[in-house]
Amino acid sequence: MTSLLPYIGPKLLRAALSIIVVVTLTFFVLRASGDPALQILGPGARAPDLAAFRQQWGLDQPLYVQYLRYLWGALQGDFGNSMLAGKPAAELVLERMPLTLALMLPALALNVLIGIPVGAYAAMHRDSWIDRSVMMLTVLCFTVPSFVLGLLFILIFSVTFGLFPSGGADKWQSFVLPVLTLGTGGAAVIARFTRSAMIEVLSQLYIVAASAKGVTWRQVIYHHAFPNAIIPILTLLGLMLGGQVAGAVLVENVFGWPGIGQLLVISVGNRDLAVVQVILLLVALTMTSANLTMDLLYGVVDPRLRNARQGSH
């Protein structure tokens, strides 16, 4: 594992820097966007009240003092209170976390469980009519924005056939449509990617050699083609996370799902800045750690990467 350090070290440093940049930018953008005292007390507030408010929240201090205080607070998990709910913003966001995860994790599973088999099947039956129609369908699935897809699902499965509820999060049936909406686009992307990755791997020389040695086609697929195609698919999953997060925001709003995405839109509408900040930071943390994990995984799975890096020392 020690040999991984020079490989992962710069990436770790970069990830930490990224988070600091996000925190710093949100702080200064927040301050640049207007006087919090005026925003909270309203434009009709009297001057002494404003002064008292500023003193109470430390807004009369120099900007860098405010920044350091904010950083110190953030380190201790204190991101300020939601103006709307009057509760700590972090608490408000974390409360909704399980519901959002209950949407995203099954969608992720759907990506993989549908995308990979469909792509692999299409690759093995390359240029058949099944391959072609599946690939055409995937174009449709990943180009259609999730909010349109969700509404179309509601129109078909809820309004027309009455199979699933169109909103809420109370029974298992309510999970079906949101998860399906969120998972479809990613599954289509993975299916297309798996197909091309498999085709490339299949056409490589050592696969040809392996099949020439008298191993069965099935063995070639499972022992050679699959392991080689899996690394790029993992990377793709990491890259898709951002789209998945954005998709979750829209899908939650389509289905009235009381998760973080819905909270974000409500908070943006009401300019509840503390909550928006926490969500932004949460997303940044999730994304950076996901990228870092992918990098680490990549380094472990593919030792050539590490060695190439060290060879250049």
Binding site: R14, V148, V245, V265, R271, L273, I279, A284
Partner: protein, 277 residues
């Protein structure tokens, strides 16, 4: 050298559809039969022509009796205009930052690369939402915000192009003639990069349409009385049971446009710039 230009059926259909959209956007005021805010209270929630509706409201009318067809034409106009303006901003900002990063080595370059990394690691929709929360919403601000979409990709591309032009090629040759860096970047590197940047813009443009309609759908983008495809989907969703055409008309336009752009984009990338992924 000259290969026969081969266009398959799907590419042809995609181009035709996009031309139709462009035409609609340009001629919206001429072809729209009604004002987009004109209410026809006798024909509220009237279905499209052929589904029990009248020719007066070709695609039906909405909850206030406003003509869906007219609103659709104007929505296409608004969405395309915003996407166009934003794409121009995105390419300009991205190119400028990319060139600056390529020109200034050292700390400036590292900082810009870090910013690019940060932006690339955050979903744009989230960033856009946060900015809307911080700064409020107005049309110019919204277009500017949409213009931030994809800047990091364009910046990376522009930096790569500038570095490739690099010290060994024509850029270095012009530099040693004694040219000012501005001249090298504006007169030499920019024209030589234009084709690639243009292809990148064709990728950015449709994506901005989708982000814009998503934000407008959430009620945080284009504000009434203006209308855009996302606004129409957002309104239509309330009447999904009683007047599905309010939802379907803009949705079909979004879906077809997205698919058409994707088909055409693949074609363009294959033909113009195979290095762009």
């Amino acid at each position: 050298m000259q290969k026969k230009l081969q266009i398959d059926l799907s590419t042809l259909l995609a181009s035709l559809w996009l031309c139709l959209m462009l035409l609609t956007a340009v001629t919206a005021p001429l072809i729209a039969p009604h004002d987009i805010t004109a209410m026809d209270l006798r024909h509220r929630l009237s279905p499209p022509f052929g589904f029990g509706g009248t020719v007066v409201h070709l695609f039906g009318s909405d909850d206030l009796g406003r003509d869906v067809a007219s609103r659709l034409y104007y929505s296409i106009r608004t969405s395309l205009l915003i996407a166009f303006g934003a794409t121009v901003i995105s390419v300009l900002v991205g190119t400028a930052i990319g060139f600056i990063a390529a020109y200034f080595k050292g700390i400036v370059e590292h900082f810009l690369l870090l910013l690019i990394d940060v932006q690339a690691s955050l979903p744009f929709l989230i960033v856009a939402l946060a900015m809307l929360a911080f700064f409020g919403n107005s049309l110019p601000l919204f277009v500017a915000l949409m213009g931030l979409y994809g800047w990091e990709r364009n910046a990376r591309l522009a930096r790569g192009l500038a570095l490739a032009a690099g010290s060994q090629g024509y850029a270095g040759a012009t530099r040693q003639l004694g040219a000012h860096p501005l001249r090298i970047y504006l007169r030499h590197i920019l024209p030589n990069s234009a084709a690639t940047l243009l292809v990148a813009a064709t990728v950015t443009f449709p994506e901005i349409i989708l982000v814009e309609s998503g934000l407008s759908f959430l009620g945080l983008g284009v504000q009434p009385p203006m209308t855009s495809l996302g606004v129409m989907v957002g309104t239509g969703r309330e009447y999904i049971t009683r007047a599905p055409w309010m939802l379907l008309a803009p949705s079909i336009v979004i879906v077809l446009t997205a698919v058409a752009v994707s088909v055409l984009g693949d074609y363009l990338r294959d033909k113009l710039d195979p290095t762009l992924t």
